[in-house]
Symmetry: C2
């Protein structure tokens, strides 16, 4: 059995942010699986089979990849950003125990530049002190848990990054999240809305909590929230390393 | 004024995790500045001046880099991991306002693979759900704040990553942090001690909270703490995407 499985991160969009090891795994692959728009980023070549699938099919995609690798394929599952952050690595380990052969296989997770760190780099350094990353989608957890976690994160004075803050199927959550922040934080708190970071559609907007509106985000946005010391210098936003 | 400044992440150690844009910035640079062991990772070449400096000299290093770039240099400040995570990006923006010329300069933060995500990839996917990143050093914040934040993070059921958990100058903090976790979490909670991740000295150890000892960490360790759903499958540790 010479097959292997890599679960690889493509970074946020710009191929200049790919790592060497991910580039190499893609060059060796016989099969690449992933969500349709991520597969669209992989150039076709002879000997490579591309397997696009839809959002919400993560567990089936993982099983398909594991079967291909167990049959001797050199298989890469791609996520945008980092596969370990709200992406395909957890989905794959969730099904790994279903088959003894899969447990013996060579599996490697290959990190990528995750959206919040690419967004932070574009804005300056808003995640330069203790911070948290939260998925604001309530597809996989109840909304009261999101709200509870958000409130504690604000009380702990973490800087924050919100993934999946808003979609057409979930238009209302972000307004509720902003309401929690308004109860816990001062109106001058800085937020960065980073849309389609590192792509030609990139748009980075910094506003105060008082100015923030849910309509500023869509499904390609990551939102960064500063801590109480986060400040501006010139066109940059940063969080100092020191805190009281 | 044709100079520029890049604040670039070298990733955790293995050069296969460098991004293309960081590789290119290093190839163009006239000057590279950074902490001594990170500068040791940059190959010497004609036309490139290497400027190693010691730990604790971050603000002076940033000023030096800004002056070199203002004089027309093509300057890279390197951090290991990601420059925006407990590293040189915040330090640079902290001094940027000291000089009007610096504010007009071309400055670019180039993300890298940060230690917690490289460690998570090696272990499986322990940061696969909402998580936080904390610097356990009390050099730049008071210990009671660390303890307060840690307690709220545990109550929020975040998975966690601890940077700088222990050094010879700070041998005792980690024991106190583990004591806080023991008050808030069950003894079976999974922790990953990741030492020198992606280097030849890499050592990844998974233990329960009951088994965890401060001596398992040193200054090259990042510690990952699962949430209450984090589990093992085969030799991997992962946090499910779903939570109650």
């Amino acid at each position: 059995m010479s097959g292997w499985l890599a679960i690889a991160g493509l970074g946020p969009g710009d191929n200049a942010m790919l790592t060497g090891e991910v580039r190499e795994a893609l060059a060796l692959a016989t099969d690449v699986l992933g969500y349709i728009p991520y597969i669209a980023r992989i150039p076709a070549r002879p000997g490579l089979m591309l397997h696009p699938s839809d959002n919400g099919e993560e567990l089936d995609r993982a099983r398909h990849a594991l079967r291909l690798a167990a049959d001797g394929g050199q298989v890469v599952i791609v996520s945008s950003g980092d596969p370990g952050v709200f992406a395909m690595a957890s989905a794959t380990f969730e099904v790994l125990g279903e088959c003894q052969d899969w447990l013996r296989m060579e599996i490697r997770v290959m990190p990528g530049i995750t959206a919040m760190l690419a967004a932070a780099a574009r804005a300056g350094a808003p995640l330069g002190h203790d911070f948290c990353a939260m998925n604001l989608s309530d597809n996989l957890k109840p909304w009261p848990l999101i709200e509870h976690r958000l409130r504690l994160a604000a009380q702990a004075d973490f800087a924050m990054a919100f993934y999946n803050p808003r979609s057409t199927a979930r238009p209302d959550g972000l307004g509720r999240a902003l309401a929690v922040l308004r109860e816990e934080c001062e109106p001058e708190r800085l937020l960065v809305f980073a849309h389609a970071v590192t792509t030609p559609q990139e748009r980075i907007t910094t506003v105060t909590l008082a100015e923030a509106r849910p309509e500023m985000a869509d499904m390609r946005t990551v939102i960064l929230v500063g801590n109480k010391a986060t400040t501006r210098v010139g066109r940059y936003v940063y969080t100092p390393r020191r805190s009281q």
